[in-house]
């Protein structure tokens, strides 16, 4: 089980073919992600990050999308991994249900997956404690800020204890200060829960701040331009001013510039 990669992508290509359009989005993407690691994917706008995200998370893509290659999550196909509750999704927008309060929103996947009521309540209580949201338990989404709402959506993703967390630019709508705060939170959660996190972002700083590995994609048709290992200790808030940190940022930026051309 230790040797089993959390995510294993081999020779992945994706093409949208239909309605007179022929668009190759992904071309021969190969990478793997170790269990328990924190990896970021970064790339120029429109390079197919969302398509890659959807393919890994087992979400349905358009009918015209033709896929080649292998995606395996803990050795299973994405759809199987989904039904086995291995994947937790956190999207760009919190997507909370306005008619439920924070606790009820976190309970949503548990209700659908058939957990008992007592079990669900216990899990939600623990999550509220983990995320320090205890005093907001009965609040409605409309009464919370964007950052808080995203926290709730992270809690919801953790509710059924998936091994892999897939996050698609979750903090892109937040301001600088809240973004940094949420970054520290997610590192906190990662260290406490020891999950595998795959984090898609378009912020170089965020990628370097958060992850152990940064995967840089090229323009369409995307392939891996480079994988950079970030060898810095956590918590990275202490490393922010070090020259090593800036060297990594420079390296990622340079790669991104090359990848965009």
């Amino acid at each position: 089980m230790e040797n089993l990669k959390a995510v294993s992508i081999k020779k992945l290509s994706a093409t949208f073919d239909g309605n007179g359009k022929h668009l190759q989005v992904l071309n021969n993407v190969n990478f793997s992600i170790k269990n328990g690691s924190f990896t970021s994917i970064i790339g120029p706008s429109g390079c197919g990050k969302s398509t890659l995200f959807r393919l890994i998370s087992g979400l349905p893509t358009k009918d015209s999308c033709k896929i080649d290659g292998k995606i395996r999550i803990y050795g299973k196909k994405p759809l199987t991994a989904c039904s086995d509750k291995d994947i937790g999704l956190i999207l760009q927008t919190p997507t909370l249900l306005e008619w439920r309060n924070v606790a009820q929103n976190m309970k949503l996947p548990l209700e659908i997956m058939g957990y008992s009521s007592d079990n669900s309540n216990k899990k939600v209580k623990n999550l509220l404690k983990l995320l320090e949201l205890e005093e907001f338990e009965k609040y409605r989404p409309s009464e919370l800020s964007g950052g808080m709402q995203q926290k709730v959506s992270i809690g919801r993703a953790l509710a059924y204890n998936p091994e892999l967390l897939l996050m698609d630019e979750p903090f892109c709508a937040l301001d600088e200060i809240n973004r940094r705060r949420m970054n520290n939170e997610i590192i906190n959660i990662w260290e406490k829960t020891k999950k595998t996190i795959l984090f898609i972002t378009h912020s170089i700083e965020e990628a370097v701040y958060l992850s152990q590995k940064v995967i840089i994609l090229t323009n369409k048709p995307s392939t891996i331009h480079k994988i950079i290992n970030i060898d810095l200790p956590y918590p990275r808030s202490e490393e922010q001013d070090s020259s090593k940190y800036f060297k990594y940022i420079k390296e990622v930026r340079g790669c991104l510039d090359e990848a965009s051309h």
Binding site: N19, G20, H22, L23, Q24, K220, P221
Partner: protein
């Protein structure tokens, strides 16, 4: 390496074929239903005063349109078009006045609260109740009829227009404020374009309401020429075939009106692409 082809003319032709196929299927279904209807009524000997047979209706249509009448006689088609004309006048007036009021009332909450009960009452008091009252003031003439149609249709227009303006996201207003301080610019570049989609959709709803209002106002008011009065009279005289054909006729006219407005909406939406606002 990006290969992207534009949709060719053949693509649009496929869509046309589908539409024609749909129309043919609809016509076949209607014809089958008419035949069934005729057979059912003949078989069960349902008396004429309850429901006519399609053959009765065809008889009536033949007598009405294909035989000559005295010069003073107005066919139900003429009467329907007369009612349609009145409906259109009421419809247009309601749109203009309603939009104007909607825009004005969006500016001041107090005035809206003061005026709201009266606007609400225009919807609440049905035309047959309101008609005698208005007729007592304005007489049983043309202006009362148009006024009633306008009163019936104006409330949804005001509410929709007002709500649209109030729901324009703040960031758009702030953006325009950085360019100019004149409210007229805000009006021209932001408010008017944002009113077009709801206007088009409310037009579709109001078009049938205006025809309904026209028909109903023709009942109590002794105005000459409308189809409402004709339906009422033939109903009371139990000329059932005439009632049915008139109802079908005015429904068809209403449907055509509605369809034309739908095409207008589609045309304007594709040409000018007034989409919805995406708030930050």
């Amino acid at each position: 390496m990006l290969i992207s082809k534009r949709p060719t003319g053949l693509f649009f032709l496929v869509n046309m074929k589908k539409q024609i196929k749909n129309i043919l299927i609809t016509i076949t279904i209607i014809v089958i239903m008419l035949i069934l209807w005729e057979l059912l009524i003949t078989h069960f000997h349902i008396p004429k005063r309850i429901a006519p047979k399609p053959s009765d209706l065809i008889d009536f249509i033949q007598k009405e349109f294909f035989t000559s009448h005295s010069t003073k006689y107005q066919t139900i088609l003429t009467k329907s078009l007369y009612s349609l004309k009145d409906a259109l006048i009421g419809f247009t007036l309601a749109l203009i006045i309603g939009s104007g009021l909607g825009i004005l009332l969006s500016q001041n909450k107090t005035i809206y609260s003061l005026l709201f009960p009266f606007l609400f009452l225009t919807q609440l008091i049905p035309i047959p109740a309101l008609a005698p009252v208005l007729a007592a003031i304005l007489g049983y003439g043309y202006s009362t009829k148009i006024l009633l149609i306008v009163l019936f249709t104006i409330f949804p227009i005001i509410i929709t227009m007002r709500n649209t303006i109030l729901n324009i996201p703040e960031n758009y207003k702030q953006l325009l404020h950085t360019y100019t301080q004149k409210p007229i610019i805000l009006f021209k570049y932001l408010i008017l374009p944002s009113l077009v989609p709801p206007l088009l959709s409310i037009m579709k709803i109001i078009c049938s309401a205006s025809i309904v209002a026209t028909i109903i106002t023709e009942l109590p008011l002794s105005v000459k020429g409308g189809i409402g009065k004709d339906i009422y009279n033939s109903f009371n005289n139990q000329i059932i075939a005439r009632v049915w054909v008139s109802v079908i006729l005015i429904s068809l006219i209403s449907l055509i009106f509605f369809k034309l407005l739908s095409y207008l909406e589609k045309y304007i939406n594709t040409k000018y692409k007034y989409g919805k606002f995406k708030s930050c």
